[in-house]
Assembly symmetry: C2
Homo-oligomer: 168 residues x 2
């Protein structure tokens, strides 16, 4: 860690719960299955703070990618997803888990709440991943209907679709 | 801090930059102005990792609400925005900055990038707020077009619009 880092204020993140997704670690080269149901189990300490969350159809979930290697400074540019037909970019232009602060975000559908347990569909996190914040998904703040992405990302999504279709 | 908290793993967040928004602290009872331009100044350590971010029209910015009081356990339910015509809910059902991990999220438009400086429009954070992660906004992951919110939130948004219109 260099001087610039040492001199900065740092903050402490305390997990409020974990992602429970049985079996997901057993799948080699795990592909995100948008339809898989998983659970977010919130510590009993925070259960009452969930009151009213069940009126949202979707959540914003922030989680700590605790198994990701954490760079100490900007790594070399790289081709997203390791695809050699894509341009090299910096980590912030990608969703790589290898980030200075490895905070993942997902916007899953909330199927139902059972006390401190949120049943969701569409969270791309391994079993046991620590959860650090939950918010209701709010279209007015969170939808950017006119958002444009780099051409390479459109191409990558198309490739993912084709590969998923080929797997059947 | 109780035993349950003490026994848990904790994580360390290192800011990667700050929000620069001159004058915003001077506005009493600051209302979010969606059209205000502000800057995100990324530490030179991470500048090269921004390569390619300029091809996104919008960003997902995670920032640390460093001036927010941080609860040690679930506080009493409360009426959002202090409005006595709204139901009492838990903190996770709101965007209050008083969260166990005070991580704010905004999806601003990226106007342009000048080296380590991102000029954006639509970030609701005070001047000097530490930034902890930047991602490109990706419609496929981040838009939930069919999202529904609690009735009270629709009412609150309408009230905000009326109050904004009344101020001219």
């Amino acid at each position: 860690m260099d001087e610039q880092e040492d001199n900065r204020q740092q903050f402490n993140v305390r997990p409020i719960g974990i992602v429970h997704r049985p079996g997901s670690d057993a799948i080699p080269g795990l592909f995100f299955d948008p339809d898989q149901e998983s659970m977010i189990v919130i510590d009993s300490l925070w259960e009452s703070a969930l009151t009213g969350i069940e009126e949202y159809s979707h959540l914003v979930v922030l989680f700590w990618l605790d198994r990701a290697e954490r760079p100490e400074n900007a790594p070399e540019l790289f081709q997203p997803d390791g695809r050699d037909n894509l341009p090299s970019v910096g980590l912030f232009a990608t969703r790589t888990p290898r980030r200075p602060n490895p905070i993942g975000m997902a916007c899953p559908r909330l199927i139902r709440r059972d006390g401190n347990c949120l049943h969701v569909r569409g969270i791309d996190a391994w079993d046991g991943t620590p959860v650090v914040d939950i918010k209701g998904y709010a279209p007015r703040d969170d939808i950017r209907a006119d958002a444009q992405v780099p051409k390479w990302l459109d191409r990558l999504w198309k490739t993912h679709d084709e590969e998923r279709a080929a797997r059947g």
